[in-house]
Amino acid sequence: MAEPRPVLEMTGVVKEFPGVRALAGVDFRLFPGEIHALIGENGAGKSTLIKVLTGVYPLDGGTVALDGEPAEFTSPLQAQQAGISTVYQEVNLCPNLSVAENIFIGREPTRAGRIQWKRMRKEAAELVDRLGLDIDVAAPLSSYPLAVQQLVAIVRSVGTGDRDAPGSGTKVLVLDEPTSSLDRDEVLELFRLMRQLSRDGVAILFVSHFLDQIYEICDRMTVLRNGALVGEHLVRDLDQVGLIELMIGKALDQLEELHEHQLHSGVGELLVKAEGLGRTGKIAPFDLDIKKGEVLGLAGLLGSGRTELARLLFGADQPDSGTVTIGGKQVSMSAPNDAIGAGVAFCSENRKTEGLVPDLTVRENIILALQAARGWTRPLPVAQRDELVAKYIKALDIRPANPEARVGQLSGGNQQKVLLARWLITQPQLLILDEPTRGIDIGAKTEIQKLVVSLSEDGMSVLYIAAELEEVLRLSHTIGVLRDRKLVARLANGPEITAGTILETIASGAHQ
């Protein structure tokens, strides 16, 4: 196949921040109608490259050419006008306005300054229709789930061009981690839309942590490591193992090691016993017991009640039926404090909003829970505090290993480790991890999983929630399967249990 002229070509792009060379002469090209993955670990320079491309950061060196013409953008608006649209991980729309308004705001059809609502709704409906989506454009955006909002964001960005020929203006569509909070069907819908746009000739730059998704949808990929280009490959030419090796720059034995590791640790006596625990509208009453040193994995669809179950065990939501016994003593789960007192720790899936305080330092974030457990009248002695913090920074390999760094500036994986450290320092008996590996790179993922294994070997019980079944399978002694806000099955993990078995259990909803 003769290669057409790239719609976008970046050559020798350099971007420096004080003390860091974020991009060291990266080449990148994008052809019309292709779906191109940008891959790299956290901190490899993906976000920086996108931000340079979309005009958020100015270039420090190198050139950008759009359609063969040199281009440099100084604001996102300018990039948009030149035909480069971006949809960010967090949906940047106004939930209080209608779908149609969100698509058109800033360029509503007007006559003599008066917005023509009918025409706007009609045009929005046509655009949505043309892209094969089923969305009521008159409804407020907030009435739709996040996945649909994301699709609306894409509709907006492709509709940004000429108002009479939607899509004509957008040459390059940048999707920054669009799938991280979508479930499978939603991802498929997104992919369908991406394929349609690429058929229309739009070049799509797709950033994702999910390698399977990249193999499913992308034609070509560019791999970055430490701000440098590692290679550009056709997706079909490079298998996943090869790709991961390119990303992390070393072979994959550590992952393999983990596979063999599973289940070797023994399980002790009963630690937590929940009987008839439930909360109307959140999760049906369930019985659950967790033994010392046991890793109990929870599997289920998004919204099947995984998080809700965990929140009940932590007292973050109050149960309206049932009892919890921890270490032989009944605990009234009326507030997280009761659970913390009984040795339960909970790492929320929303580490940014429900866990870490981004403006505080690593040290302050780490000691937060321990200090809370001691009460504010008994501050932690400085020496002991510094020693503990240093110990956990080292044990979890938090980078940068600087207790005074602001948590908000750390990468996702390191933020997760800080959150973990905060709870580990309280030496809990039961550690609840809700999606601890979401949105973090594969290296950090492996480290966190290894940590779970070693904690369980030391006798800590872990309740592990993850969207990826492989993760649950790899780590858990026992797997609890949830469906429609109900704990439907408990499977003892073993060689005969596979992702298929679990999916079947979910699909049938049957008891063991």
Binding site: N92, A299, E468
Partner: protein, 341 residues
């Protein structure tokens, strides 16, 4: 990837939900609640004071005559609150405008046709300045407009420490003029207030600027990334509020026929109360200017009812306002909480 996130059944499309939740999620609900409250209170008044002439249409029209200035001020506040901000300088601006115009008319002998545009210009400029500071220096609107509150109140006292009563004939005529409406009559001030209401409705719902106000209030960060001119919108919103405050000051001056450095102290709080009772979310992004009308009418009706009762102290107005405000904040809270889940 074998994600657990495979849904075997139909994906629910979000918008479809039971009628009850849809009603609770409807943004018009707070306005309807306020309107219903107004009608209920009015109906209660009709029953209780039927023999005292409460049923006269003029009693209803008087609500507009007596509260026209508050309506205008509250409309300005609606713009600001809708954009997620707050304006505390409203009362001071009204007081300042009464002083400023009284001084110009009485002491300087300027004709009203000159004084009115001048006062409106000063008000709009004051609002613009506050908006400029809020946007360009990224300072909390609360603090900036609090500074405005003190500044304009202080300027009143610079003009004169005592009240200036207005004897000017043109002001008198304008204040006395009543426009017959068949069943009753309205003052010029009330008509101006209604015109402002209509204009505000049009601007908020049929112009790009109006929609930007909603967008900024909904999510400022997003609005910025969507390429909307945020700075301009925010500054404009405070300019509108300053303009409305000055206009409210003119109407207040017509109503009271004097300028006084102590006029309209705390009226910004009445305006904010009217906006909130009218169903506009204090966090911004949701509300209707029509709701503000009902908010003002409810506040005005409380005053009327207390007057008709005769034996109650006028402080009961404040108590009733406090109770209502509390109730409406709670309604808003439950509504937003429901919307999130």
């Amino acid at each position: 990837m074998t994600a657990t996130d495979r849904k075997p059944e139909v994906v629910e499309n979000g918008a479809a939900s039971s009628r009850a939740t849809r009603l609770l999620g409807d943004r018009r609900l707070p306005v309807l609640v306020t309107a219903a409250l107004f009608l209920a209170m009015y109906g209660g008044g009709l029953r209780r004071y039927a023999n005292y002439g409460f049923g006269e249409p003029q009693v209803f029209l008087n609500l507009f005559i007596d509260n026209g200035y508050l309506l205008v001020a509250a409309i300005g506040a609606t713009f600001v609150i809708m954009s997620g901000g707050i304006d505390l300088s409203v009362g001071s601006m009204i007081g300042f405008t009464t002083m400023f115009t009284a001084w110009l008319v009485e002491r300087q002998g300027l004709p009203l046709v000159l004084v009115v545009p001048l006062a409106l210009g000063v008000g709009a400029f004051g609002g613009f300045l506050m908006g400029y500071v809020i946007h360009n220096f990224e300072i909390q609107p609360f603090i900036v407009t609090l500074a405005g509150l003190f500044l304009f109140r202080g300027l009143c006292l610079v003009i004169s420490k005592e009240s200036i009563s207005i004897g000017d004939a043109s002001v008198g005529t304008l204040a006395q003029t009543r426009v017959p409406l068949g069943v009753g009559e309205l003052s010029i001030g009330a008509l101006v207030a209604l015109a402002v209401l209509g204009a505000a409705y049009y601007v908020l719902h049929y112009t790009r600027f109006g929609r930007r106000v909603y967008a900024v209030g909904g999510n400022e960060q997003s609005a910025l990334l969507m390429g909307l001119p945020m700075g301009g919108t925010k500054i404009a919103v405070y300019t509108v509020s300053g303009f409305c405050s000055a206009l409210a000051g003119l109407l207040f001056m017509l109503y009271i026929q004097s300028g006084d450095p102590l006029h309209a102290i705390g009226m910004e709080l009445d305006a904010i109360a009217a906006v909130v009772i009218g169903g506009t979310l204090l966090t911004g992004g949701s509300g209707y200017v029509l709701g503000t009308l009902f908010g003002v009418l409810v506040l005005g009706l409380i005053k009327s009812l207390i007057t008709f009762e005769g034996t109650l102290s006028s402080w009961w107005t404040k108590i009733a306002t406090g109770v209502l405000l509390c109730a409406f904040i709670l309604i808003q809270r439950t509504m937003t909480a429901r919307r999130k889940t």
